[in-house]
């Protein structure tokens, strides 16, 4: 089935990095994009501007996915873009690193809440317009961390591995309605989140370099497209060979 003529995409945490690149890639593919941000309004507006200058349609959408009412975000996106949200990219994520033996409850809870629980709640709200339209695309931004170990990130690994499990089960539940649910698992990508990662780690990647946000966005763009209609419940690793 083809994407309806008027269809919006909502990308969480899209003020910078991978989220911003995803928003731009989806807009370039004809989606009207809601660029969600929690606190970086300037960043979100820069993303919107980049999209509109390139001829696309976008609005900045303020909201903290970890502590808000998802339905309100969806309603606002639909109202401002004049189209139901038929693509959701759960990209918003935080880190609070530390060895498990020293990790406090807050560090654990915050990362699980933003990276996993929020993604679930957003996905649950997304199901209504998508099932009704008999068309939908949910893409969860997971990580190589989760399937693989990364000392100091037990919370992040749990949340990201959880996202992959959630992706598979929800994909099964809604597949017969033309709604696909997939994950992308970025490896080391050049963004704020990885700026302190030592060079030695990047040298260990088979591709011998970090990836770019655009390379992750290209994978999301594909999964959100009509071409990916038979792809569901899967995880696409964008990691330079790290997990192979």
């Amino acid at each position: 089935m083809s994407r309806p003529d008027t269809a919006a995409a909502l990308v969480t945490g899209a003020s910078k990095g991978i989220g911003a690149a995803i928003a731009q890639a989806l807009a370039a593919d004809g989606w009207a994009v809601a660029v969600n941000y929690r606190s970086d309004k300037d960043g979100a507006e820069r993303t919107v501007e980049a999209i509109t200058e390139a001829g696309g349609k976008a609005v900045a959408l303020h909201g903290d996915v970890a502590n808000g009412a998802p339905q309100e975000l969806f309603a606002k996106a639909e109202e401002e873009l004049g189209a139901p949200v038929l693509a959701l990219v759960n990209n918003a994520g935080v880190t609070a690193d530390g060895l498990a033996i020293q990790m406090d409850d807050e560090a654990w809870d915050t990362v699980l809440q933003t990276n996993l629980t929020a993604a679930f709640r957003m996905t649950r709200s997304a199901m209504r317009p998508m099932i009704k339209a008999r068309y939908g695309r949910v893409i969860n931004v997971a990580s190589v961390v989760g399937p693989r170990a990364n000392p100091g990130q037990a919370n992040y690994a749990a949340a990201k591995a959880g996202l992959i499990g959630m992706t598979k089960t929800i994909a099964h539940e809604v597949a017969k309605r033309g709604v696909t649910v997939n994950a992308v698992a970025p490896g080391f990508i050049e963004t704020d989140m990885t700026k302190d990662v030592p060079e030695a780690v990047k040298e260990a990647v088979p591709a011998r370099r970090a990836g770019t946000p655009e390379e992750v966005a290209a994978a999301v763009r594909f999964l959100a497209s009509d071409d990916a209609g038979y792809v569901t419940g899967t995880t696409l690793f964008v990691d330079g060979g790290m997990s192979a």
Binding site: R128, I131, K132, E173, V174, K176, R177
Partner: protein, 81 residues
């Protein structure tokens, strides 16, 4: 849009919604079980949303699990109005 919630209007909403899930119109009666109509849990979840949009009555997961026949669904919605 909220419609008056009477047994007749709820029956109409449900009878009209079920064919969307592949159910033969001629097979739908108050006594039909969702199982024999081949209506699964996702269909019931969607039916709940249609009922909520039409009648403003919210059916939760637990409620839906207890509904066996079309009549059960009608009665439950009317009781919650």
């Amino acid at each position: 849009m909220a419609t008056a919630t009477t047994p007749e209007t709820v029956e109409k909403t449900i009878f009209e919604a079920l064919p969307q899930f592949g159910v033969e119109e001629s097979e739908i009666t108050r006594e039909s079980t969702f199982e024999e109509l081949d209506v699964d849990s996702l269909d019931l979840a969607e039916l709940s949303q249609i009922i909520e949009d039409e009648h403003g009555v919210q059916l939760k997961g637990d409620d839906v699990a207890k509904i066996k026949t079309v009549g059960d669904a009608i009665d439950l919605v009317v009781s919650r109005a």
